[in-house]
């Protein structure tokens, strides 16, 4: 446990008491910046997230929300860094396991791959055309059942509905158990029942498995309801704090309108 974590905890006294924190792990994003073709997309991002927290990121279109997540998983070149520290089995760990649920619709659906084979491809090097080992199969079924998707195991990816695909992606992100779960507008095109099931699952795994969740959301009402903390992002962090505080911030209201999030809530 490093000193920065303790400092960070003091800084975040405003965080609601409902949060479940193990106090043994923390994720720090330090001075993160992204430039693409000479254009600054993100700059000077500093974030501090504890396990058990659910941080939602809101912001206007083009604010860099998706870019931030893609930088955190190291898909995009960026400056600054992601630091992680935890105590696991009595030893200190510096490498975070990251689970990532992408936005829907941009997966290649034309390729013949079953849900089970997707898990196998992510689990190891044994080529998927040689079949799926029993160990991988059991883990996958277990994780799929946790998100109410056990019956989808042998379906081709191309034949899943939007909500089903999102639950499969969530189950995949949970195997192996992540320290940080990144959700990129996971529900942009999911029906109402699917949204409810998804949030139920996220809440359950967050409580059971003690991980930090960072979620990008377009739905302000939903983001405010489930978050323990909220960040308003527009190329950099404009403000952060408890959801009610952030939504009351003048810049947030100027962006979304004073009552935008209440309207969406209905």
């Amino acid at each position: 446990m490093s000193g920065e974590c303790a400092t960070g905890a003091r800084r975040e006294m405003a965080v609601p008491a409902s949060r479940v924190a193990c106090g043994a792990c923390c994720t720090m994003v330090e001075q993160l910046g992204v430039r693409i073709h000479g254009r600054t997309i993100l700059e000077n991002i500093n974030l501090h997230v504890h396990c058990g927290e659910l941080l939602t990121i809101i912001g206007p279109n083009g604010a860099g929300k998706t870019t931030l997540l893609r930088a955190l998983i190291n898909e995009l070149p960026h400056s600054g860094r992601l630091r992680f520290s935890a105590i696991r089995d009595g030893r200190s760990v510096a490498q975070a396991v990251i689970g990532y649920v992408p936005q829907k619709l941009d997966i290649d659906r034309s390729m013949p791959v079953t849900v089970m084979e997707l898990f196998a491809a992510a689990a190891g090097r044994r080529p998927v055309f040689f079949g799926v080992s029993r160990r991988v199969r059991e883990t996958a079924i277990h994780n799929l059942e946790a998100v109410e998707a056990g019956q989808l195991a042998d379906r081709p990816l191309g034949r899943l509905s939007g909500g089903e695909l999102q639950r499969v992606m969530l189950a995949l992100a949970l195997a192996p158990k992540p320290d940080i779960l990144l959700l990129d507008e996971p529900l942009a095109s999911v029906d109402h029942a699917g949204v409810a099931a998804f949030y139920r699952t996220v809440a359950a795994v967050r409580a059971q498995r003690d991980m930090a969740v960072i979620m990008v959301s377009h739905n302000l009402a939903e983001a405010a309801r489930i978050a323990t903390r909220m960040v308003f992002l527009n190329r950099t962090i404009v403000c952060e704090g408890a959801p009610a505080e952030v939504l009351a911030h003048p810049l947030v209201q100027a962006t979304f309108g004073t009552s935008a999030w209440r309207v969406e809530a209905t």
């Binding site: 990532y100 941009d106 034309s110 791959v113 084979e117």
Partner: protein
Amino acid sequence: MVCAAASHVQCCDLPDMQMSAKLLSALPFEWAQYQFMQMALTGIVILAPLFAILGCLVISNQMAFFADAIGHSALTGIALGVLAGLHEPLWAMLVFAVMLAAAIAWLRHKQLAPADAVIGLVMSGTVALGIVLLSRQGGFHRYARYLVGDILTIAPADVRRVGALALGVVLLLAWQYNRIVLVILHRPLAASRGVCVWRTELLFTVLIAVSVTLSIAWMGLLVINSLLILPAAAARNLARSAAAYVLWAVAISLTSGIGGVIASYYLSSATGATIVLCALLLFGVSVVVRR
């Protein structure tokens, strides 16, 4: 007649070649007695599975056009080999194709230009450069065999060399297969699983380049790409899982390869093109079966 060109093939002196030759000559067909047919069939049995597995990934990754460009760039590779005074242009072709593949993968990675435009430029540029260099002294016809391919003139030593390289490519491909699948399905998802997307794509690109270059002299650069695309495209119509996808592609590739070699014997036609027509036939069958 294409078959006549095969008369210079020397005797089988390698034990593994003798075995496949013995097996084939036991068959009650006229063609099975000729050494050039035995070599051609051995060669196609080596290449067909490699192309099938590679093809499954290539058509999922918008790499088909790229594979075609690599095939065409072989002309420049041959020209460079000839200029360097090499007796056998295979190595020059391999080095050139790998360098080109790495360059294209880098441009793709940096997103410096639209991929299609870059590949199109590279393709026309390398073909033109190859033709200019090879036709400079007259006598371009000597290299025409690279355009249509000539699997019936391969010597046992060729089969052995290409077989060893192909085995290496298949092993690397199997080792990286899952990672390539993840990158194809979703790059950010692959990155979040600790896959270095850029390195995986580079390796995949180089493997395509090596495989295509290896078989240019046998298949011909005009049709090589179809051999990559058609079996996988047909398999997509039949398969619902990744395992079935690869199995179907390998089966279709082997069937059209062996069928094409035998058919070209009776038709006295260029073997590479005949194989492609067989694959096209099977693709048609797969479209009908799907409905």
